[in-house]
């Protein structure tokens, strides 16, 4: 019995592989972010986890967003960059189909926070 205990402890610690912490949006609230995404209906173009009405295929799915190295295939995925992208994508990539969304800076932060915390 003791041997089994030692083995399982070893296994448990072994399973916890170290990884770098994922990015977070300072000053962004994921709960509010979900409401922002619902209100602006981002789901018309994107599949977004946790939001059933979000079923669009115009843009890419936004699952596991924190783990993505890049935003829109061009920009390193960092919180401030994502906020800027949400607010005015054409300013960063003039040929994109994603329009500038008339939302406040805080709303964009909250939406970014939600995306970073979604699976």
């Amino acid at each position: 019995m003791r041997a089994a205990l030692i083995v399982s402890c070893a296994l448990l610690t072994a399973c916890a592989v170290d990884t770098e912490p994922l990015p977070q949006v300072t000053g962004g609230n994921a709960e509010r972010g979900r409401d922002v995404i619902r209100e602006y209906e981002c789901g018309v173009c994107h599949v977004i986890p946790g939001i059933p009405a979000a079923s669009g295929r115009v843009g890419p799915a936004l699952d596991a967003y924190a783990r993505r190295p890049y935003i829109a295939g061009k920009f390193p995925n960092q919180p401030e960059t994502l906020v800027r992208w949400i607010l005015d994508a054409p300013a960063m990539a003039p040929q994109t189909a994603m329009p500038a969304i008339a939302m406040s800076h805080q709303e964009a932060r909250d939406a970014a926070a939600y995306l970073y915390e979604s699976d």
Binding site: V7, A10, L11, A14, C15, R57, V58, G59, P60, A61, A64, R67, R68, P69, Y70, A72, G73, K74, A93, Q95, T96, A97, M98
Partner: protein, 281 residues
């Protein structure tokens, strides 16, 4: 005396217990990181010999169906040398030419082909060059060198052990204008070959692709259910023609995109596009 039926029962219990014990021990070894994956740690001799033998027998079995053409007619030694210069010498070296650092830090170490070329039949050399060797640094060249180029490379390999260092150097100068030919066709379409192409261009290293075993990667968007998507890179409408155009020239479609120019030839791009558009059927 233990009754016969008890003997059977005990044997079964014993066998199951052994299997379970084996599984537990393997898990412990795996999860504790006790097995070293470093290229700097030497194999056990028995491991090395088993892997070596395994390679030999696997290649022999899988290359048995390859019919070697008349190399004098089909192959061009200078073309083969061009291919060797472009793709092989960096890891394998050549007479009087050291391999690059690329070829020095590997485990297993890339063979010195002067010896392999003397010992291995042409069909085996062709097979390894075309298909690569998994879990080693030897890539598959099927989709980067045409079949004629591959046979030419084999022909050159057969010639290489006969050269001195000086002769090799001279041969390099005299065949400087030869080029290693790329494939120009993709053959008959099949889902398996399309998947192979996607892997051979390393697409599955940045994109999750339906039906393929690979890393869970988020560098690029997932390509699952690609047919349902409306836009390619947010810029071009998602049609088969546009998809081929994108694969062949991403920078031309969307400057500064992080999808690199992988020099995909158009016939390969068409197969890959067809796979992506139909995979969810």
């Amino acid at each position: 005396m233990i009754a016969h039926r008890h003997k059977v029962l005990f044997s079964v219990i014993g066998a199951v217990a052994l299997v379970v014990l084996g599984a537990v021990v393997s898990m412990v070894i795996l999860l504790s990181g006790a097995y070293s994956t470093a290229a700097t740690k030497q194999h056990f001799l028995i491991t090395y010999r088993i892997l070596e033998l395994g390679l030999k027998y696997s290649v022999a079995s899988n290359a048995a169906d390859i019919v070697v053409p008349d190399l004098k007619r089909v192959a061009n030694v200078e073309v083969g040398h061009a291919c060797y210069r472009e793709h092989c010498v960096q890891c394998h070296g050549a007479p009087g030419v050291a391999r690059d650092p690329l070829g020095r830090g590997q485990l297993p170490s890339p063979s010195s082909l002067e010896q392999s070329a003397r010992e291995w039949p042409s069909s085996h050399l062709f097979y390894v060059t075309q298909q690569g060797v998994r879990m080693s640094g030897m890539p598959a060249w099927e989709f980067r060198i045409s079949e004629q180029g591959l046979w030419s490379t084999v022909a050159f390999l057969k010639r290489m052990p006969t050269m001195t260092a000086a002769e090799y150097k001279q041969f390099t100068a005299s065949s400087a204008n030869a080029e290693c030919p790329k494939p120009t066709t993709a053959g008959v379409y099949s889902n398996e070959r399309a998947q192979l192409m996607l892997r051979q261009y390393a697409c599955d290293n940045c994109h999750i692709i339906e039906g393929m075993v690979g890393p869970v990667t988020h560098v690029g968007p997932s390509l699952e259910n690609w047919r349902e998507r409306k836009y390619i890179a947010g810029v071009l409408p998602n049609t088969p023609e546009n998809l081929v155009r994108w694969i062949v020239d991403p920078q031309g479609v969307s400057p500064h995109t992080l999808m690199p120019d992988l020099k995909v030839i158009e016939p390969h791009a068409q197969h890959m596009a067809r796979y992506l558009m139909t995979a969810s059927d």
